[in-house]
């Protein structure tokens, strides 16, 4: 979708610059690196992908939602972004915003904020103590627990991820934003 009044800005909640370069090698829009999760702290992003619609007045017109903004990663995830992209087109071309945009995203609680501070120290120092504290305080936050896996020598696509996903689902899929409507994990959600 090309429009002079519209831009996609991708923010990698990730310290692995090489992996992000590889993932985004064909994209033409800006890709920013958020190694310490500052964007995610600022916008209360607890999982990826999360999309946020921001208008020309820097007003958030549709808050955090578990949608895919592009098909860049659809091969990886098996998730199509058609519905969401049609909604984005209607917003860009006609100013239409879906009804779910009125949802107020819940702020982080005290434990979640502390978890993020522990994560920041852990990302900087690889301190296992701070990874553990972060996970204890926010056990279902993917930007903490799953993001930590590669930093702790684990596999974010391995068994520990599926364990996390099961715990997350059993807890009612808590998410700071509009619940994902199109996502499928392994096609059998």
């Amino acid at each position: 979708m090309k429009d002079k009044n519209f831009i996609v800005i991708a923010i990698a909640i990730d310290e692995n610059v090489d992996a992000i370069k590889e993932l985004s090698k064909d994209v033409t829009y800006p890709v920013l690196i958020d190694a310490y999760h500052l964007f995610s702290d600022l916008y209360a992003v607890s999982n990826v992908p999360t999309v946020i619609w921001v208008d020309e007045n820097d007003t958030i017109v549709r808050p955090n939602a578990g949608e895919f903004g592009t098909d860049t990663f659809s091969e990886l995830t098996g998730i199509s972004c058609i519905d969401h992209m049609n909604q984005v087109k209607a917003w860009v071309n006609a100013g239409e915003v879906p009804n779910d945009a009125t949802l107020t995203v819940e702020d982080f609680n005290t434990d979640e904020i502390k978890a993020r501070l522990h994560f920041r120290i852990a990302a900087d120092t690889r301190s296992e103590y701070h990874f553990q504290k972060a996970e204890e305080l926010a056990p279902l936050d993917f930007t903490i627990v799953r993001a930590s896996m590669p930093l702790r020598g684990g596999n974010p696509f391995g068994e520990e991820f599926f364990d996390l996903y099961e715990r997350y689902q059993n807890a009612g899929s808590p998410y700071h934003g509009i619940p994902r409507t199109t996502a499928r994990l392994g096609g059998n959600d």
């Binding site: 519209f6 991708a10 999309v51 921001v54 020309e56 995203v105 501070l117």
Partner: protein, 121 residues
Amino acid sequence: MDAIWDDKRPFVKEIDIEKSLGWELKPEGLCKDDSCIPYTPRNEPVSGFVDFLDVTNTLGFSNVLDVELGLAAVDTFSSLRSSALKDRKAPNIELPDADGELHSLSEWSDKKKLLVAFSSW
């Protein structure tokens, strides 16, 4: 930001308080724009250095301290995050691209923006 440690507490230069936390230390207290919160520096081990935890606690910023590593992490985003979530004001942030060049979201202020948070994990 550098700190000196005294009795397991970090003390930082007064000037670094404004740089790191956005609040300036003045005679009337900790000030930002037109508002001030009363604050009197105390227990200064060295003149011109203030108790970092005391300041962050006064400002209501959550913090995590690691004395052995000599590191403190502070949540300075609470009010910006709250205004993003409640008042829908998109806060600006500066981040590097993959080549290390810094960008601000405000570079694209005049456009409709689809912010996409993603990852390799």
